[in-house]
Amino acid sequence: MRKSIAVLAVLLFVVVTPLCAAAQEGLRVAVAANYIQAFKELAATFEKETGIKVEATYSSSGNLFSQINGGAPYDLFLSADELRPRRLQQSGEAGEPFVYARGRVILWSAKKDFCDAGDWREALKREGIKKIAMANPEIAPYGMAAKTALVKAGLWELLGPKIVNAQDIAQTFQYASTEAVDAGLCALSAGRSEKGKAGCFFEVNEAPDIVQAACILKKTGKREQAERFAGFLMSPEARKIREKYGYR
Amino acid sequence: MTLQVSVGKRLKFFDLEVSFTCEDKDMLVMIGPSGGGKTTIVRMIAGLETPDEGRIVYGDEVWFDASRRINLPPRKRKVGYVFQDYTLFPHLSLYRNAAFAAVDKRDVDGLLTLFGIDHLRDRKPDKVSGGERQRCAICQALARRPRVMLLDEPFSALDVVTRRSLREELRAMKSGLSFPVVYVTHDIQEALFLADEILPIVEGKVDRDWMRRTITREPAPGTAPRAVREPRLSLVY
């Protein structure tokens, strides 16, 4: 019994190690979680055209920023805001940030009759609205934009006790789509997704665009490939792709 | 009133089957080699074990009847039970132990004095001697004003001197009791000293022959003697 386990372990090691090595061939990109869907298509397209593999890690911008600060070996960082890439540039860890997408905030609900109201403000003021989810404005760029909109519309105070703070825009959508809350201030990309189509949403014009910036990390060992990818992200082809997912 | 016991139970090494009665004010002593089923019988009277068949009746109260599916739980039988290894509650003082289930708290003082442990009333069980603990256990049982009193080798774990004096105190007390007492021991002298009636139990059955065989140290036909080492007595049962 012990012998066969040892043999298995060695086999596994032998098989996995070259796989790992192969995996290390491509670009490692840290991507803000809201951009998952769009990024997958962008990465696949880039790979097809150039043969350069792209591997992404998706998480909240704050979490990725902490990792990078702690020395995580990424080549590029696609944040959901401009602030974090700028910080990295200031601390000398990254080059000049560039805007790779602009997102929009929507008010999405899993219940189709939610959108019977005139506009998003009317919908929120209705009776029977018990809980609204939004990404925590202190830590999530989409949350900050949503808060700006609520304040502008005079709803921030009114809705106060009904607001549930999600950790990021992905969790916001999770709360809204599982109907744990009546509606959520989510990303437009969520509204355009498969799940998103099962519900309905209002555009929230009072919310500013979420300017999502990226940067190439100084310690990358694949500068040339990273720059090619950055160039691709800014190309008209990439723009067409991301517009499909609700980004400009 | 009479305690009537007639029970049967399948045990690990043999089948238990006994029948006996005990009147108020009488002390019936069960004696016999260890492992013979005496403790099991007493536990069945208390309700801690269930016979497979039979009846246990006290007066007009049916405590157990297999055919009628009656099996009163121990707390409803109002029995006093003094265990072999004293099981006083370790977190309570002797007084509190004795008064634990007392019908009238005033009885407790009298009992403690009668058994000579009143001066120890505030001590916890681990701070007194084995003999004092057993005295307290007896007080605890008596304070409940039980209908039947059961004592299962109450003094076996004590030294000879204490055993003797407790035995004498018990006999002196006996006449004042108004209920039946069932007493278990393996000590023939103790049995002879205390009993109004002796019931020898061997391998689950009443064996009236056992006494005679044991006292005259005659091996039973086909069995090895497992009797207590007692000096030859001229008394014949």
């Binding site: 809980k131 925590n136 549930v164 703070n165 599982t178 | 099981t87």
Partner: protein, 217 residues
């Protein structure tokens, strides 16, 4: 530096501990003494929260406590208030999440009690409930306190479950562990550091108590 978050943490831990002491004791008692078919299945089910990752638990709690859940829906009908994203909701989640930590030490303490004490209590006329209160509890204080300490420590450290079930509402469901996480996300490392430091004395004191009790028993 959010003092409010610590207040919520301590309030939550105190609530969960108090509730579990009352709820877990009879369950531990049954597990310690009773024998019934399917007992090991029931026991494994009760210990499940210990074996599941907190995010899995959180996920299921959302389903159960949400407005359409088997617990959330009747609650909302009865009280008009939602169960999820409220203090009651996270208290309930914390209780369920810590059930095994309360039951195990109690069960162990109960089992240590000599059976004959219970038989004696029974013969002396006590009902099982009375025997539990007058004989079992006084003789298992060590195990009960150990359970309380464990539950308390476990609750003040809860994060994964609460981050899914709480909604991080300041003063209501935003506990200290979440406040620290958010401070890091917001790049306020100084606040994160300060709050983390505060955890040390609290946890240390309780561990000391737990150790002392462990030695005494």
């Amino acid at each position: 530096m959010e003092w409010q978050a610590f207040y919520v943490t301590l309030k939550l831990a105190a609530t969960a501990t108090a509730v579990l002491m009352v709820v877990a004791a009879p369950i531990a008692c049954v597990l310690a003494y009773a024998r019934f078919p399917g007992k090991s299945l029931v026991e494994a089910l009760l210990y499940l929260p210990m074996a599941l990752p907190p995010t899995v638990l959180g996920f299921y709690f959302i389903m159960v406590l949400g407005p359409r859940g088997i617990a959330g829906r009747p609650w909302e009908t009865l009280t008009g208030q939602p169960l999820l994203f409220t203090f009651t909701g996270i208290a309930l989640a914390s209780v369920l999440y810590s059930v095994p930590f309360a039951i195990q030490p109690m069960k162990a303490a109960f089992r240590k009690i000599d059976r004959r004490l219970l038989e004696s209590a029974s013969v002396l006329g006590l009902s099982p409930a009375a025997a539990f209160v007058r004989v079992v509890l006084p003789n298992s204080i060590g195990g009960i306190i150990a359970a309380a300490v464990l539950v308390f420590l476990h609750t003040i450290g809860a994060f994964g479950v609460l981050i899914m079930v709480g909604g991080s509402i300041p003063g209501v469901t935003k506990v200290a562990s979440i406040a620290i996480y958010e401070a890091v996300e917001a790049m306020d490392y100084r606040a994160a550091h300060l709050m983390s430091l505060c955890f040390l004395p609290i946890s240390y004191v309780f561990l000391l108590i737990a150790n002392k009790l462990g030695e005494e028993s």
